[in-house]
């Protein structure tokens, strides 16, 4: 044991002794940093709503202990997220931090949470920096490792026997990661890897080149409004029926589909969750979410709901005594909660080992939505787990 570890262990032991008497009466405080304004607000709103729903369904308690959820808006800005986490840790004294949507924010904020010995549970962002060498015993990801969905799309395109595929992503780190993830499992020829400007709105030039290259399929990752624009223009060029379109679930989630509408019908996308997954926990969740908010839950909502139930299981295991850090971690690691994904467990780097599905965008009455068509990966783990030493 190094000196630092010894000191840490001693501090924790002290905390357990002093905290034990009052623990059960003290409410658990959860700090959620998420995006509630700006272009990416829909994702954070889904996460917040679903997390709150989980608490509400349990009568305002998680693990049988009254739970206080403090939500703060980072407006998708690193500086804001850093300020919020400082406030959460120093002033509000939260027990657990959660909620960050964007990977660049997570990379900036998560280490300052885990360094303080507090638990961070991710409801979305899963950058590889925190999955491999940068993993931490206090960091749990209840969503995925970022590459996972792109990998599943690559596998599915390979399974379909498509030999010539055109790839498109924005020219920034997550865009390049998505293409790396896709290529990790795609075995055919890559006709072109096109990198567009971040925030680009018009894709006419790219679509014309793409048509001229005559690929058998197109894989793209364009988050947010960029994806809405691309899919609309792809459909307007008359291509959606000619060259099948594949993407990660982000580009076709329920919120995006409500904006893109009919243009997206016929596209395929990968996700570890869809509202139509057939299991008891999901039926309860979807019904409650639709009743409370009048819309179908997105994958962001499902991940946040699962994160809340995961935390619920850990709080229950220590009977609300969050000072028992080792016991809290052990309970989280067990992941003993009814996931809306059907099953869920953690790998050695505290990232999910889970099934990933392909969904097709279909028209159901007046609404455009996703339908699960088949499972691509069973118990899929990320590529960085082996690098993690904790």
């Amino acid at each position: 044991m190094t000196r630092i570890q010894t000191i840490l262990a001693a501090t924790m032991a002290g905390a357990i002794v002093s905290g034990a008497a009052t623990a059960a009466d003290k409410p658990v405080k959860i700090g959620m940093i998420t995006t509630l304004s700006g272009g990416g607000a829909a994702l954070g709103v889904d996460a917040r709503d679903a997390f709150q729903l989980a608490i509400d369904l349990k009568g305002g308690k998680l693990g049988g202990v009254p739970t206080e959820l403090i939500v703060a808006d980072d407006a998708q800005k690193v500086e804001n997220a850093k300020q919020i986490v400082t406030r959460f840790l120093k002033k509000d004294d939260v027990d657990i931090v959660t909620g960050i949507v964007w990977s660049n924010l997570a990379i900036a904020v998560v280490p300052s949470v885990t360094r303080e010995g507090k638990i961070y549970v991710s409801t979305n962002a899963g950058p590889h920096e925190l999955a491999g060498k940068g993993c931490d015993k206090n960091y749990f990801n209840a969503a995925y490792q970022n590459d996972n969905l792109h990998e599943a799309a690559g596998q599915y395109v390979t399974d379909k026997g498509l030999k010539r595929v055109y790839l498109l992503a924005p020219n920034y780190p997550a865009g390049k990661d998505s293409i790396t993830g896709f290529k990790r499992f795609y075995k055919g020829e890559v006709v072109a890897e096109v990198y567009t400007t971040l925030g680009q709105v018009d894709y006419a030039a790219e679509i014309a080149n793409l048509r001229a290259a005559k690929p058998e399929g197109v894989f793209f990752f364009l988050p947010g409004g960029m994806g809405v624009n691309f899919v609309k223009q792809y459909a307007q060029a008359g291509l959606i029926k000619e060259i099948p379109l594949f993407g990660p679930g982000f580009s076709f989630d329920e919120g995006i589909l409500s904006a893109v509408g009919d243009a997206a019908v016929g596209a395929f996308n990968s996700s570890e969750y869809t509202w139509d997954l057939d299991n008891a926990a999901n039926k309860v969740f979807v019904a409650a979410f639709r009743k409370a908010y009048g819309r179908k839950p997105s994958l962001y909502a499902a991940q946040a709901y699962d994160a809340a139930l995961l935390i619920d299981s850990a709080i229950a295991a220590v009977k609300g005594d969050m000072s028992q850090a080792d016991a809290v971690r052990a309970a989280l690691k067990k992941a003993d909660f009814p996931s809306v994904r059907g099953k869920f467990k953690f790998g050695p780097n505290n990232h999910p080992i889970q099934d990933i599905y392909i969904r097709e965008v279909v028209k159901e009455g007046d609404t455009v939505t996703n339908k699960t068509i088949r499972k691509v990966f069973t118990d899929h783990q990320d590529a960085y787990a082996a690098e993690c030493k904790m």
């Binding site: 020219n171 014309a208 080149n209 008359g238 904006a259």
Partner: protein, 307 residues
């Protein structure tokens, strides 16, 4: 690369240029005549897009949507001019930047309160939703052709307004000899409001036309504003002719860059590196163009009327 692809990319470049022109024409009028840096020009574009999407949905007619957008953008523009911007003409440019930036924040919040944070969706009208095969073998979206047509018609209309009408004469005179125009008994305040409203309506029209192609979302105006400023700097501040030339040039260079630079790079590099490096160079292509034009003609391609 085939000749068809080159023609198709030229059409794409023209279409992008025409959209930029609609925005740049209004911006350059306001800047050239009122000497006001208006960062909130993109806000009027956003207002146009939101109103067009809403009115089209409510009425079922895209034409009504566009007319509603024109009216709304003109009204909002005139209101902003009379309440906020009028006080800024005599202040320096930094104050104008700060104040109009405030207008952006105000309208972004207002739009979010009224329409929510989700993007809106608008389809092209049925008659324009298909493709047309004007280049053999290449189906081109009819809606993009329609935009090119509208943009060129608006360009001709503006030329008529500026060259052949009394308002146009005052606009030209006001650009260079503001005090003299005032001394001749012309109501400068009203002239400025009219100019601002014309600029606002052009931005609103661009927004309404963008709706069926792009996501109608909060902040959509800021994305395109930077390109618009590049256009008026290249074209020459205050000149509508310059705005047209600059917009088409920027549209074509941007489109050709994105379309052909990665292909050209593939001749020398392995495909993945070529695509990546080509993308990086093409994203700065228009700024290189701007630098080159400014070295050659420091005041832009065309100068303001009489200037």
């Amino acid at each position: 690369m085939t000749a068809q692809l080159f023609l198709e990319q030229t059409l794409n470049g023209l279409q992008q240029g025409v959209m930029l022109f609609l925005l740049a024409a209004g911006l350059t009028l306001v800047f050239g005549i009122m000497h006001l840096i208006n960062l909130a020009h993109g806000t009027l574009y956003m207002v146009g897009a939101y109103v067009a999407a809403t009115a089209t949905k409510a009425s079922g007619s895209f034409t009504i949507g566009v007319l509603a957008a024109l009216a709304a953008a003109g009204l909002v523009g005139a209101t902003i001019e009379m309440t906020a911007l009028r006080k800024l003409y005599k202040r320096d440019h930094l104050d104008q930047v700060l104040a109009t930036f405030g207008v952006i924040l105000f309208f972004n919040e207002l739009v979010k309160i009224m329409w929510g944070p989700q993007a809106l969706f608008l389809s092209p009208p049925a008659a324009l939703s298909g493709t047309v095969e004007i280049i053999p073998g290449i189906p081109y979206p009819a809606y993009r052709l329609f935009i090119i047509g509208v943009g060129l018609a608006v360009g001709l209309g503006l030329r008529y307004l500026i060259v052949n009408t009394r308002t146009g004469m005052l606009i030209r005179a006001g650009a260079t000899h503001r005090d003299m125009v005032g001394a001749l008994g012309v109501d400068i305040d009203r002239l400025f409001t009219v100019v601002f409203a014309i600029g606002a309506m052009l931005a609103g029209l661009a927004g309404a036309l963008a709706g069926p192609m792009l996501a109608v979302e909060v902040g959509m105006g800021e994305q395109i504003l930077i390109l618009t400023f590049v256009v008026i700097i290249i074209g020459g501040i205050g000149s509508v002719r310059g705005a047209l030339a600059g917009a088409l040039l920027v549209g074509l260079v941007d489109t050709y860059g994105r379309a052909f630079l990665p292909l050209a790079m593939r001749a020398a590099l392995d495909p993945a590196a070529a695509d990546s490096i080509g993308a990086s160079i093409s994203s700065v292509a228009i700024y290189l163009l701007m630098a080159a034009v400014l070295i050659w003609r420091p005041r832009g391609l065309f100068q303001a009327y009489g200037g």
